[in-house]
Symmetry: C2
Subunit: 298 residues, 2 copies
């Protein structure tokens, strides 16, 4: 099995199709990476690209994308509803297969240095790559946005991790980092009582005493007339999908409410679901290489 990294850069153009395509083309043209998805939002004036590949290839594609965005986007003329601070706003690297978060942190640092040195763009490291706790949270780093950064960057505590210590007027500043894959997972309850979904959410989520790597909120599904516990899992290896599922069931019992279904939104790493099969089937000593498909890639 070869090492596999996912990269999800966000850049600040969501309206001009020609510019968007030219930027995405940089990923398409890079050998050894595969473009999985990209989507643009006109109100946000922002695009999100998802691609995957080997560590070096993914880093190379990210650099080329950042370079192209710095050529084609002028932040001094940018407006949009979504908070942003740079032409390429944020670039997370995500470990997918046979690679650690630490290795992704290393990729983020190498890319950050190259972007700082060669493109003259200030770079901040965030999440697992952050150089101090204050920089872990993206919202915290981005506070003040492009317009505010001309002042913010001068403060000693906001000196960039790489690149110049003053703003790049055209390209702004870029946030680069590493984080674990997110899983969006919703559990449907056999009731229309939103209070029950909210109460269960409070028991599940980390912030109010629940599981370390879970965020959760109650949601009303009007069309089906049921409620849902909507969960974001930020580390499926440490807080597993089956743990969430069983804990929602356990809490729902208090109200005599059944779990009537669940849904995975978007992509999910294979291992997150295989881990659940292993748990429920009580499989001993399973090796992920026993999954036939894992033997196919070089």
């Amino acid at each position: 099995m070869s090492k596999l990294v996912e990269c999800v850069p966000n850049f600040s153009e969501g309206r001009d199709k020609e510019i968007i395509e030219k930027i995405v083309d940089e990923v398409r043209k890079t050998e050894g990476v595969k473009l999985l998805d990209y989507c643009s939002d006109k109100d946000h004036n922002r695009s999100v690209v998802t691609f995957i590949g080997g560590p070096e290839e993914t880093k190379e594609a990210a650099f080329k994308l950042i370079k192209k965005a710095s050529e084609l986007i002028d932040m001094s003329k940018h407006s949009g509803a979504h908070p942003r601070m740079g032409a390429t706003d944020v670039v997370p690297f995500i470990p997918i297969r046979d690679i650690t978060t630490e290795e992704c942190v290393q990729i983020a640092k190498e890319l950050g240095k190259k972007v700082g040195d060669e493109l003259n763009i200030p770079v901040y490291l965030y999440e697992d790559a952050a150089s101090c706790p204050e920089r872990q949270n993206l919202a915290n780093v981005r506070k003040g946005q492009y317009e505010g950064f001309f002042e913010k960057i001068k403060k000693p505590e906001w000196k960039p991790d790489f690149g110049p210590s003053e703003m790049n007027k055209k390209s702004g500043a870029t946030v680069i980092g590493a984080r674990f894959p997110l899983i969006a997972y919703n559990v449907n309850l056999g009731t229309d009582n939103i209070e029950i979904a909210n109460a269960i959410s409070r028991r599940i989520r980390h912030i109010s005493g629940g599981l370390r790597y879970a965020k959760a909120v109650g949601v009303m599904l009007n069309e089906r007339n049921i409620v849902q516990v909507s969960i974001n899992m930020v580390n499926y290896e440490k807080t597993a999908v089956y743990t969430i599922q069983e804990m929602v069931k356990m809490e729902a019992k208090r109200y005599g409410v059944p779990v009537i279904g669940a849904e995975v939104i978007g992509l999910v790493p294979m291992k997150a679901l295989i881990d659940c099969a292993e748990y429920y089937l009580q499989i001993e000593n399973f090796d992920i290489k026993q999954v036939l498909e894992t033997n196919l890639s070089e």
Copy 2:
């Protein structure tokens, strides 16, 4: 996702390493297929090769392997403990991804015709590719073995599906077909009473009234001093792994015996385990393409 077929040819040489390597090399040399495994048994004087690839490439590699085996193996001089009737004895094609058993039957037929026409070897189709019920079971086709086939082949009901109607003295005859992937799955019980494992096996297996695509037998694990229900699953889509697991649990309850573990032997198709995660997590409307890794192959 590209179509993916597995092929597991068995050929009648398990002693001469040089010959074995030359035959396996035919697979290694074929572009678009990947050799997953091969092993030889000296007593059986037989080797089993496992490889995987696109339909055309897999068919091509199988043909080249059969051709090389027909050049290097002389069946008139072959002896070994395992039943056999040809230099290449049996060649199953197995649907792995994005392909039906029917398409694998088609591959088996095309290969059978080519082997018959170009190599002058009588070919029988078996399992899902069989031309009549009597030819579905490999043991039934192979009965009489190489030595007996010089007479058997003359009977109208044993006229080959392809190739000459008389034996190839050097290469014998070859059986080609299509079948679903096998899963070897064992469930461990918290008892040393083999009678309980046998009784549960009888409830599980098709032949004695159980699940259509399950074979099962009780096994004593002397080292651990426990018993096991040892299961062969011949169609995991129609008789699922979770169905087996839950049914073993249900039957074990009668004896107050817990299921204390399970094991998957060898390779398992990803979907067989994802199906279990879907069941236990109660996931609605899951699309296998939501598994991130399925987007990686062209």
